[in-house]
Amino acid sequence: MLPRKHEDTKKGTVHSSSCFRVFVTVAALVAGVGVRAQAAQVSVTPIARDGQVLVSFDLGVGISDDLRDAIQSGLATTFSCEVALRRATATWFDRTIASVTVTASVRFDNLTRQYQLSRTFDGKEGVAHSTDDEEAVRRWLTEFERVPLSMTSVLEANGEYYVRVRARTRPRNAWILWPWDRSAILGRATFTFVQ
């Protein structure tokens, strides 16, 4: 549990399993185990393992009727998540340390009643499979485990960082498109990197 890790880190007794003596503390006051955005359902959990910053996040959304309609219409429906590791600066725009774009797509075959699921990481094809379980589809689209974001070597010891997750669905279902899309799902978690 990351909050415990935070506590243990303060005591200086817990070590990670990697060759790095790395642990990440998540500011419980700021983020706890998840940072709320939109409907306050997005949870973002950054962890450090084996010299990498891994981010797990759950968009916390179910499959709405509109989304279900879109999927069952045979449209390729995609959740595109931009995960960014950033550092806040007081006098200027926050600096992005690293970012990765993860997409999860689903396409429903009305003939076979199968959901074809696929993922990409920064445009590279990932795993793909099919299922007929709608709950599995929901998890596939909204839950991401240990997405590699950055090497810990680029982080400064005791530095304050945060991970921001911005997710949006395609195709959009709006009358008019606005550059500042308010329908995006946002999540954020702040942590202190201690080496």
Partner: protein, 757 residues
Amino acid sequence: MAGFTSIAPLRSQEPLTPAPVRRRFRDSPRRILIGTGVVTALLVALVVVSARTSRFTPDLLTEGVLYALSAADLAMLAALLFLLARFIIKLVVERRRALPLARFRTRLVALLLGMTLAPAILVLIVGSELIRTNIDRWFNAPLADVLSSANQIAGEYYHERQVLVGDHADRVASALSSVDLAGADADAIRERLAPELTLHGVRRLTVYRVGPNAGSPPTLELVGDVSASGLPAGEGTAAARLAAQAIGGVSDARSIEMLGASGDLLYAAAVVRAPDGPPTGVVVAADYVAGEFAARSHRMVQAFEGYNQLRVLRRPLTGMYLSFFLMVTLLILIGATWTGSYLAKRITRPVVALSAAAREIGAGRLDQRIEQQGDEEFGALVEAFNVMAGELATSRRKLERSTHEIERKHLEVEKRRRYVETILERITTGVVSVDISGAITTINTAASRLLSLPRSIVGHSARAVFDRADLRELGALIAGVDRPTVTEPIPQEIAIPREGQELRLAVVATALIGESGASEGLVLVFDDVTPLIRAQKVAAWREVARRLAHEIKNPLTPIQLSAGRLRRHFQTAPPAVKALVDECTETIVGEVESLKGLVDEFSQFARMPSPKTVPTDLGQLISETVALYNGIFADVRIEQRFAPGLPLVRLDAEQIRRVIINVVDNAIEAMDRRGVIVVETQLDIPNRVVRVVVADDGPGIPAAEREKLFLPYYSTKGRGSGLGLAIVRRIIAEHGGSIETSDNVPHGTRFTIELPC
């Protein structure tokens, strides 16, 4: 219509018609045509795009097209607002500047905009509602139900067939569990499977066995397959992939291989397990859906999906069509606004250009011309205007030359006037001019000084100014200013009293006669001839003295000699006679001696030598002279007050000493040898003179007698020759100075001697 673009200044070397300037966009029909073509092409492109929206992918539709249309709408809205704001601001500015036809332009543009705006917005509203209504009508319930049912039928059929094929695969896998697939012969397997094709309707069976290299997942090797006759071959790899999924742990592994017009192959895989549990192979069963049926099923599914995709994308589609519509409306409004502005300018520009050019010409810039690019309605007017401007410029140049000539002459006159004025101010002759109305127009410094009149009397009535008692004689000369009869100036000598003395002026009054012969006034010229008269008198007296001395002195010696002879002749006469003769001859000789002394003084007055001047310390000279009186007159006190910084004065010390002695003697005599005499010196730097003032506190001299003091043989003492002050005046005069008398305050007489320094 004639085309005008601007007004332009014309250089003097340029011809009357100005060269055409570079045309702007709105004056170029070619560019307008190109612009119109671009807009039309844009509209056509919009129509084409809207017609092909069904072919767009959802992502392109929602991310690309809709975004582009939204951005284009916003840009065009901004452009429309900019055009309107620019037009309104320009109109406000033009109306504030009271430019011509500003109101007309406002009305024209407002009319065009109003005529366009109302129908455009109406069409936008109605059209938008129609679009929304029609799109909603696409998705009516019966159609949705039909498509959903059709999709369900197709799906159920395929699903049922796949379940059936899966059952076959399970059954065959169960049957093969007792067979050693690793060592089985392919022909034996085919032989064993062949009845399945005929008895259970399976169209193809493929058997794989687990390879010798165990792994995770294990590798599969094809053992053998059997197919019904006439079955399309298919891709060939679909069965292998499905088998790999099944051995990899995927439960209920199924797939469909679509063969296009040939139909579909439905696959299902089942793992063959040995009786003791480990997998030994995989059986892939396949069924075949004929081409026509498969195609119909696909079309049903596609229709359902297409319908539902449209329904899902209903809002973006509606937004896209509305954006199209809004874009066309905005294009119309922008076009109307621009066209209104363009037409208004096109119509009013010639008049505005004429007005602006007229203002420029009114402001004096006569080289302004209006550019003419056509010869239609306004061409003649513009040409006439340009001709008029040219003639105005020519006239102005002539006028400027005349003005320049007048200015030059005026400068000359002014120069002459200043020259004359300077002369008038510098000369010692007094000049007073009076205009025909009797007002004094000029009085120079000398006149002001001689007449004791301020310069500020210029403009005053001469009659009033010269009504003063001492100036009445002059006033009488001016009285006839309005009578042009006096053509020949007649010199006159007028005496006016000035500070107890008589100032004698030689006056000439000259009438100013204009070119028409009428009198324009009078000028009074007068000179102070007092010193001249004095000099003439002195010269006359010197002549008198010289003749007197000559005529008297000559007989004196014979008289004296005769008296001597008489005396000697009567030496022998009786005593009484002798005494009488002696007494008479003694008297004669004594009086002759007295006459000789008198004649010598006259001779001295007549033959007084010219002064031999050298730079002399006047103060020291006065001090030494005054020192001669020390202890002589007990009741007379002589005070000396010398101005500091007195320069050396060129003078004949002996003669000046004689002057001082004479003046001081007179003062002592005048105050009856009792009182105070002040001898002081003054320095008058502006007039470059040194003054010696001798003031006594005696009874003073009446004003009427002051001038006579300096006449020879005039004496108030009853003794002496009366030549003392006459000699004094002569000495001072020969030193280039002057001597005046005036009253002392509170009583007494002041002799003021001025000597140049």
